[in-house]
Amino acid sequence: MSAPAAPVVGPTDVEPQEEAKTQSTFARLWFQHYDLVILPAIIVLVLGFLFVYVSTRQLDTIELRVLAPDNVLGLLRQHLLLAALSTILVLIIAVPVGILLSRRAARRVQGPVLAIGGFAQALPPFGVLLLMAFAFNFGVTTAVIGLTLAALLPVLRNTVIGLQQVDQSLIEAARGMGMSSRQTLFRVELPLAVPVIVAGLRVALVLNVGTATLASYIGAGGLGELVQQALRLNRINVLLVAGGIIAAVALLIDWLAGVAERVVVARSG
């Protein structure tokens, strides 16, 4: 494994032994996680091609205006904000509800509540967004609420499952040593459920990044706006760029969440 020489920054008088250690740590990390490099490489490649392609075209003023960095970056920021806000809301709602549902007293309502979550997820997000916009308001708030509803289930379900799969003997050990049920929850059950909960959050986040494309239809902006502009103006180059960016953002976010997931799993063993 001729790993690219680790950029050993720092004093040159580092003991050779220590240097070897850094090298081997780097090599080990590389060996365990080299698959993480594949996706960003593909994204960079595709975006590069897109960039080269577009820059060889003769763009008219409309195209130039729509594809101006200010416009694209502004929409990208809106898009990420929509996804981030709704995912945070999902986290705030679904995790506590999931915890409550996993308590022994709530075992009976667990099934029905999860079923409602499943129902919410089965609804087509586009329809929900439109209906909500008519029922309440067009705009960011409604979009965020709609996105949140659509992405509740994965986190809710994973919180319940994550807590349920904690080894009962560990809970018994915790109680047997005198931990209160609250201490047991926060010091034993939740930390051990975190990898599963994080996996659910990753699904919710990716779902939200994708669905946020539809938010532009109720006036909440985002990268969907770019698609709409391209379609309205009938500019195929813009559509190409919009599609490329949306795909790249979704993949990149999923990749980042995947990295975060690995870090969390590695930490909690």
């Binding site: 050990a173 047997g176 040593m177 005198g178 931990m179 209160s180 063993g269």
Partner: protein
């Protein structure tokens, strides 16, 4: 064998100034939705510093009984006294912090380092960090694991036996007077289990805790227990020292549970280290007292090579056989039969003679020493 049992010295004579540490008075547990009690009208007292083994078939109530002592399971009725204090209605969490608790495989928290696992109870009791760390190191030493190596490891990096040692260390962390152990060595391979049991007894010799210990393994019960409580479907069938359980079962249930061949089985359950052996002397210092004491000739390294004098005479005609003191009476008998000798020299790890076990001792009643003596 019944008449020899009378001569058997019970390890801890009753009424020898030991107070009862754990007392169960008319304790009963009826689970919701069930009519038959899981444990019914149980009266039991565990003297301070003793190991009591709770044994019986599954569903007999032994684990329920154990968990009622620290109120992980709340008794339906009855009283539980700990060191004379009624704890039936005190706060369960703080009660449990003062009782050591060990479960199968140790129940270590996988996301805590070894030191943090040991420090769980001290931390809840509000000890400062320095004290918790020192205590963890001390306990790692006690269970035979080098602190500098193991302190910062995680449970998954340890073998099952090592995890179980940490489980015991964790239960001892806040130095509780009482420990409850729920089949702690149940899921461990027989060889490691045997070693853990030896180490456990060794530790108990230094810490002298009052221990209630659930097991389904009769051999373990006899080996570790000062007393054995045999349970059947919620009732305590017999509560006595191991010798009595094996030789004088109180009823058919206990005798069935103990099984046939109890007298022979007992031999393999009796550690030589626990026996009062007949004295043995080496040739140099034996000059004066040659009458009732066996004398061996030793070589340069102190190992016995032959009998010089035997109380029964004929030292020259008796082959010298030895058995390590870590073995059991069963091993000793095996060696005697194999070597055609009517007595065996018991030797320590360095091979030095520690005492003599005579064939007649077997039929005349074996005397066990008080533990820690």
């Amino acid at each position: 064998m019944s008449d020899t049992a009378d001569q058997t010295v019970v390890e801890t004579p009753q009424g020898a100034g030991k107070s009862d540490m754990i007392v169960l008075e008319g304790v009963e547990k009826i689970y919701p939705g069930s009519t038959a009690p899981a444990v019914s009208q149980l009266d039991m007292a565990i003297p301070q510093g003793e190991i009591v083994m709770l044994i019986g078939p599954s569903g007999c109530g032994k684990t329920t009984t154990l968990k009622m002592i620290n109120r992980l399971i709340e008794p339906t009725s009855g009283r539980i006294l700990l060191d004379g204090k009624d704890v039936t209605h005190v706060n369960g969490d703080s009660l449990r912090r003062e009782i050591g608790y060990v479960i199968q495989q140790g129940g270590l928290f996988p996301h805590f380092s070894i030191a943090d696992n040991i420090g769980v109870v001290p931390k809840m009791l509000g000890w400062d960090k320095q004290r918790i760390r020192e205590r963890a190191d001390e306990l790692l030493h006690l269970v035979g694991l080098e602190p500098s190596v193991f302190r910062d490891r995680y449970p998954r990096q340890l073998s099952g036996g090592q995890q179980q040692r940490i489980g015991v260390a964790r239960a001892l962390a806040a130095d509780p007077p009482v420990m409850l152990m729920d089949e702690p060595f149940g899921a461990i391979d027989p060889i490691t289990r045997d070693r853990l049991q030896d180490e456990f007894l060794e530790i108990q010799r230094t810490v002298g805790k009052t221990i209630a210990f659930v097991t389904h393994d009769l051999q373990e019960a006899v080996k570790l227990g000062d007393k054995i409580a045999v349970f059947a479907t919620g009732r305590l069938e017999q509560y006595a020292d191991p010798e009595t359980i094996l030789t004088r079962p109180a009823n058919d249930f206990v005798s069935d549970f103990v099984g046939g061949g109890a007298a022979v089985r007992r031999l393999s359950l009796l550690d030589l280290a626990r026996l009062e052996l007949q004295p043995i002397e080496t040739d140099e210092k034996a000059a004066g007292s040659r009458n009732g004491t066996a004398v061996v000739e030793i070589d340069g390294s102190g190992k016995p090579v032959s009998w010089r004098h035997l109380p029964s005479g004929d030292a020259a005609g008796t082959p010298l056989v030895t058995v390590p003191i870590s073995g059991t009476v069963y091993d000793a008998v095996d060696v005697m039969l194999d070597g055609g000798a009517s007595l065996v020299a018991v030797v320590d790890e360095e091979g030095r003679a520690q005492g003599v076990l005579h064939w007649n001792d077997l039929v005349g009643g074996l005397r066990t020493r008080a533990r820690g003596a």
